[in-house]
């Protein structure tokens, strides 16, 4: 349990303040070192040769043309993998390099190290690759029929024969989404001269990367160190290995440091995607709009390898209903193997797809019953003490579902544009639309997700907080990828110690134990609690050993008088406390998906306002407002930043982002045709933070960064439906869908 304490007003940068992030200055001056900026003396450059079909047999592979190029130091294939030839976070089913079968487009076949990037690229292109193409499996229903199932999650709760009078059914489809972090994959591997290697690469969980890499390299744990390094975003793209084993192998083979940088095209095929989904839903309610029964069949396209799909489909299935009471649920979720690019983690982790469907269903029910969509949701809203509709787990922690919904609904609606400024109309400077050609729509959605890991996973975070003569340092293996973990950790430790002078050190796998994955909205609670406990223990120890009652930046005080300087406290070296923090136990679900499966939950309500040009099918998002259950705002400014950023990704998911695939090939692996929202695409955002402290986070904080993406997309879709009267069951919603052509 974490200690909920008040904000210490003496501190400039403690919990509850919008203190600046400590890495801001290097970032704005161009002096922040991203992994793609790394260099080492004697460095070689690497390039990858990849498959350009979605399925086939590798009939011929001739490395000689590459080896013949001057400046090439090594060309490696699957045969050169020293240890286990497969990697994977949950199941090691993914070949490090092609094992003879191509199972998705972009599958790496060989890697090259050369003196410079140009030579490496030419050499990779020069390798002779002949593939006998086979028919790729790309249809989800066919995959299901053939039993290509990574995991089936089954939920059966309530009375099988219980039905409701009012029925709405629908089929909803969502596309693959790409995380598109601006920093593409890049890495540097440096051999240590003793058979081991240090690796800097794009990661969200250095220890899990380490485990896989060590097995593939056939080395002992201590021979490989995976280092945290500046990343240009993550959003789930970095949860699985991409280039790490490749460059490590090259580094060990050549005895030299090896660097690689993916360009955007390679990045598109170089990391996992958000699962595309096909969802069949049936909602049954009574005449008062109370949910009686929800049936859902969720098919997730997991692509060629399992990656984290077992957990994604669990998430999807457990969150099929949303934050609503319902006593009978029949849900089946399938993570299906196809020849699409492997799908894995992306902000929301399975909750996004089902939110699209479930929220659309709720709106349809509301229409069917002649009820206001907010009212329908309020009638069904979960409250603490209720069982979760799918798992039956009693929610005995704060979960302000009605509160967030009421708060966002109470916000004033934006005014219609007063001028004909085209930038405030659909079509923007394209001058397609005049104000009289626009219909405004308003839509609501609730987003619901778990925090931290589930299903009995043994999850923990290690942290070490030490006091030195110069101040305090908090150590963690967590990953700062832009989300502001560095600031949160700093603020928590400041507030616990009572000192402003706190630095955060991100340690490599050889220096500290795992902090767990930087995902699942978990680090604020996990690493946050770990450093909180370590800092508390440290403070107690220091006060006890000096007889003081207060720790400050310049020393230990008793009754307002200093009794020891930091140097005196640290006379025998830095004083440190080490914590291995585990969250409360969860359990794996039983055969019916029942059990105490999750640690904690969070909820957010979104309201979207859109202007639609119905004749052209063009949309402008005017506003997305939200009230979110955050537990405790550690850094309000940073929290708003996560909300605004998350909403932008939800906006993309709703109306413009889609990995277009045909026969398993990605047709739009570039920013020309994979469209991210620009500054002109995002509307205004009003964010209300509802603080009902969680027992599972430092100072009551909850993780919060996934929910804005989960809830904003269905709200925007709802608003477009309201404006057009069209069912729009496919995401992203395209102009041709609105115009129905």
């Amino acid at each position: 349990m974490s200690t909920v304490t008040g904000v210490d007003r003496r501190l400039a940068g403690g919990v509850g303040t919008s203190v600046r992030r400590p890495d801001g200055v290097p970032k704005v001056t161009g002096r922040f070192e991203f992994v793609g900026d790394l260099r080492a003396d004697g460095m070689l450059w690497a390039a990858t040769r990849r498959a350009d079909v979605a399925r086939g047999r590798l009939a011929r592979l001739d490395l000689a043309p590459a080896l013949a190029i001057r400046g090439v130091a090594a060309v490696l294939t699957q045969d050169d993998v020293p240890g286990h030839r497969f990697q994977g976070q949950h199941v090691t089913d993914q070949p490090v390099l092609c094992d003879g079968d191509i199972r998705h487009v972009g599958e790496p076949i060989a890697v090259v190290a050369a003196d410079d990037p140009e030579t490496a690229r030419r050499a990779a292109a020069a390798i002779t690759v002949e593939i006998e193409p086979e028919e790729p499996l790309v249809d989800l229903e066919v995959a299901l029929e053939r039993g290509e199932v990574f995991r089936h999650v089954r939920v059966r709760r309530g009375e099988p024969d219980r039905h409701g009078e009012v029925v709405v059914e629908g089929v909803y489809t969502t596309a693959f989404q790409d995380q598109a972090p601006l920093g593409t994959e890049a890495g540097l591997a440096v051999p240590d001269g003793d058979g081991g290697v240090d690796i800097w690469g794009p990661t969200q969980w250095s220890h899990v990367d380490h485990r896989q890499i060590v097995a593939c390299l056939g080395l002992a744990d201590e021979q490989v160190r995976v280092h945290p390094v500046g990343l240009g975003g993550a959003f789930g793209a970095r949860e699985d290995l991409s280039l790490q084993t490749h460059i490590a192998m090259l580094a060990l083979t050549t005895g030299r440091p090896v660097k690689i940088v993916y360009d955007r095209t390679e990045s598109f095929v170089g990391h996992v995607k958000r699962h595309a989904a096909r969802m069949r839903y049936r909602h049954e309610a009574d005449r008062d709009g109370r949910l009686v029964r929800v049936e859902a069949r969720v098919l997730l396209d997991a692509g060629a390898y399992e990656t984290t799909s077992a957990a994604v489909v669990a998430n999807a299935t457990f969150f099929t209903v949303g934050p609503y009471r319902c006593d009978t649920v029949v849900a089946d979720g399938y993570a299906l193997r196809t020849n699409h690019y492997p799908a894995g983690a992306m902000r929301g982790f399975g909750a996004n797809q089902v939110a699209i469907a479930a929220e659309a269903q709720m709106d349809r029910l509301a229409t069917e019953l002649g009820l206001d969509p907010v009212e329908l949701r309020l009638r069904n809203a979960l409250a603490p003490g209720d069982p979760m509709a799918t798992t039956g787990q009693v929610i005995d922690y704060p979960l302000p579902v009605s509160d967030v919904l009421r708060s966002v609904a109470a916000l004033p609606l934006p005014d219609p544009p007063v001028t004909g400024d085209p930038r405030l109309l659909p079509g923007g400077t394209g001058l397609t639309t005049t104000p009289d050609q626009v219909v405004r729509g308003v839509g609501y959605a609730l987003g619901f997700k778990n925090l931290q890991f589930s299903e009995g996973f043994d999850d923990f975070a290690e942290a070490r907080v030490e006091l030195t003569p110069a101040g305090a340092v908090a150590h963690t293996a967590g990953i700062e990828c832009g989300q502001g973990m560095v600031t949160v950790i700093q603020q928590v430790v400041r507030s616990v110690l009572g000192m402003d002078n706190v630095e955060v050190a991100f340690d490599h796998t050889g220096q500290i134990g795992s902090a767990g994955s930087t995902s699942a909205s978990r680090q604020t609670q996990m690493a946050g609690n770990a450093v909180l406990q370590a800092a508390e223990a440290l403070r107690q120890r220091v006060l006890l050993s000096t007889g003081g009652d207060e720790l400050r930046d310049d020393g230990v005080y008793r009754d307002g008088v200093r009794v020891a300087t930091l140097a005196e406290v640290c006379a025998n070296g830095p004083v440190a406390e080490w914590v291995h923090y585990q969250h409360p136990a969860t359990e794996p679900p039983d055969d019916n998906g029942q059990g105490r499966v999750h640690v904690d939950f969070c909820v957010a309500a979104h309201r979207a306002v859109v202007d639609v040009d119905r004749d052209l099918g063009m949309v402008r998002v005017v506003a997305v407002d939200t009230a979110q259950d955050v537990g405790r705002a550690i850094n309000p400014q940073q929290l708003v930043g996560q909300i605004e950023g998350g909403i932008a990704q939800g906006l993309g998911y709703a109306i413009m982002e889609e990995v277009v695939v045909e026969d398993g090939c990605i047709l739009n692996p570039s920013f020309t045709d994979y469209l991210l929202p620009t500054a002109l695409d995002v509307g205004s955002v009003e964010a209300i933070m509802v603080e009902e402290p969680s027992p599972w986070g430092p100072f009551g904080a909850k993780g919060m960064a996934e929910l804005p993406t989960v809830a904003s997309a269905p709200a925007i879709a709802a608003a477009i439906r309201a404006a057009t009267g069209r069912p729009l069951t496919r995401m992203p919603i395209r102009p041709q869908d609105i115009v129905d052509l």
């Binding site: 001056t29 922040f32 991203f34 920093g183 975003g233 360009d263 930043g641 605004e644 500054a679 995002v682």
Partner: protein
């Protein structure tokens, strides 16, 4: 081939591959890795620099064609002596408009250009001026507020 150009106020002579982009030359040959390669197509603005005072994507400039030109990168836009922060940089930090930081150098250049050229820009003007700078982290709200604090606009 050898190219001579002015970079951040200093005359530099550099040997580049004939087809090499200015972005590449800055990062690999000129010791200025601040500008970032996020798309290399001119679709994201992360590589933005000023070329003879114009805001351009350095990934689309062939270095050999920049012979004699004057280039300003993020490294050249810091405060006096390169140590302190410019008001643009300070505003971005103060408004929480920096998250992962990959788009930040390009934004610093684009905002500096905007602030120098625009008189009393509206919110829409600012968004349009920055529409060539993609950010995947912030959702642009904090960026807008940072710019408005410099241009005197409404920061509500």
């Amino acid at each position: 081939m050898i190219v001579t150009l002015e970079v951040n106020g200093e005359t530099r002579t550099v040997e580049v591959a004939g087809w090499e982009s200015l972005l590449w030359a800055l990062r690999e040959r000129l010791g200025l890795p601040g500008s970032k390669p996020a798309c290399e197509q001119g679709e994201c603005g992360s590589c933005s620099v000023l070329l003879d005072g114009e805001l351009v994507c350095s990934c689309l400039v062939m270095t050999s064609d920049a012979e004699g030109a004057s280039v300003t990168t993020v490294e050249g836009l810091s405060g006096p002596g390169g140590e302190g922060l410019s008001e643009v940089q300070r505003a971005l930090i103060d408004h929480g408009a920096v998250q992962c930081g990959f788009c930040t150098p390009g934004l610093v250049v684009a905002i500096a250009h905007l602030v120098d050229h625009a008189t009393d820009p509206s919110e829409a003007d600012i968004r349009e001026a920055l529409s060539g700078n993609l950010c995947r982290c912030t959702g642009y709200g904090s960026v807008l507020r940072a710019v408005q604090s410099l241009t005197g606009g409404d920061t509500a």
